[in-house]
Amino acid sequence: MDEEKMNPKSIPIKTIKFRTIFLMMTAIALPLLATETSQPFSKLDGPDTPSGYLARLLINEVSFPGERAFESETATKEAMLQILWVLHCRIHLIPEGYTQQQVAGVRSENIIDVITGTGEKRQCEGFYRNKDGKFVADDRVEERIDYLLKIANKGGKPGRFSSLLNFGQNLARTYFKEGIEGVDRYASLERIGPIKVTGHAYSWMTDVNNYHPGGNFVSISSDFNGSLGGNRFFTLRKDPK
């Protein structure tokens, strides 16, 4: 051993050994790396899990590139966050003078119930409980989600579609673990034009054809960024009619 150390010729031999080991390791690692990169850029939790179901709703309600009223990746992400805040507020932040039934159409602390509503009075189009009581989404919703996933997982690198899908899924997962990751931009609203309002948003609708959720809902104007990701958000009158 000592002789070997002392012999200068032993150094190249060691280098060759090291090189051989390095090459062998690379040869082993390359297929593993290839496997890693062939993983999809985006994947959602199962539709029968709460986090997968919530993610589907958040994703289904917003505009992706190419869709009507798409503005930017940031605006679409903000819309998902605000939709989650609406659902949360419909459970935990019912304003004085209102009941949860009036605001959310249900009485429940379960966010899935708030999404599905009851019977024919579904709150979110395409999301409901089937006759066995399981929360499900319409085939159209699943078809659109599959389509978006297919686009997101195309090509050699992740793009806006995968960024948006992953954002929605992470938002949903985090909600069930820790709560909402992000601020409610409508929390401190006090007045929309001449109307005193409660703050927070309690409904959203596709921003087309002048939809309005009715009752005491007040459209949040563009001055307060009431339109996000192809949706219009609504707060409530401070003094119910």
């Binding site: 190419g66 869709e67 159409g105 806006r160 579609f161 087309v208 054809n209 459209s219 563009s222 339109s227």
Partner: protein, 298 residues
Amino acid sequence: MKLYRANRLVLIIITVSLLSSCRMAPPADQAEISTVPSELVQQPYLYEVIRHLYRWYLDEAEVERIIGSKEFSFWVRRLEPRLDPGDHSLLAEILLPQLNISVKVKKADYTIEEMKVVVKNSEFKIIQITRGTVPAHCPRTCQQVAINVGDMKDYLFRTRNQQDFPDEVMIERLRQALRKEIAKEGISVSGLPQGDRIIHLAPLSPIANETWVFWEDGRKLFFFASDIDLANPAVWEHETMMARVFDLDQQVVVSPSEAPGSNRFLTRYQVSRALFNCVVLGRRVTLPSPAAPDIGDN
């Protein structure tokens, strides 16, 4: 001493040049006004905006209110939201104070890398219409345009039945898209006999990338909308992303208050309007059953 004088001279020159540049720069508001794209303040475009509203939104009382004025005002401003890198789209807002309606328009210009699709509109398209959010006074960032109400009224009357339909190539794309959509819906429509399907296409607006279609025997309304021009073949390759369906037996209420907060329903008034435009002003088209030969439009 010389150095001091030289410095003083340089300071004076800088001060003078800064002052003169301050005087030359326009006020911030004026700078913003100047960025309003000229096509948005031209009468032909504003006429199209009001014709779109007249056909799809305005009711009797609102038309009465317009006719009662001598001039009709438009307040137009450029919007500059933070867009994604490489997105050169232009956005603007047209406020109609006499109707308390705001119309957001967009001239898209971006690429969807994943789909290899270029989204580029040749003109500004309506992407949003909102009621009740116009301020009492014209914002300083807006350019004001006034149009003679008499001329505008004549134009609306003259064009009230104008039917602009897509060309044959686009109708064929629409047919194919509808076949797919109807096939999906067919599963949920019970008791529907096999055979041809009758649909009614609403006239198109030249300044909106959207169209409504009534499926007569399925009793459903389809709403197709996109950021991409409907004349662009790419839009019909991705029809999954642009179609919404309303079941007229399930999703119609008289007032949204019947199901507060729900985003599922159209009002009977909205549906009436869509049906008038599809059935009365629209074009009836037969979709032959897949096995039968295509017999074309009626």
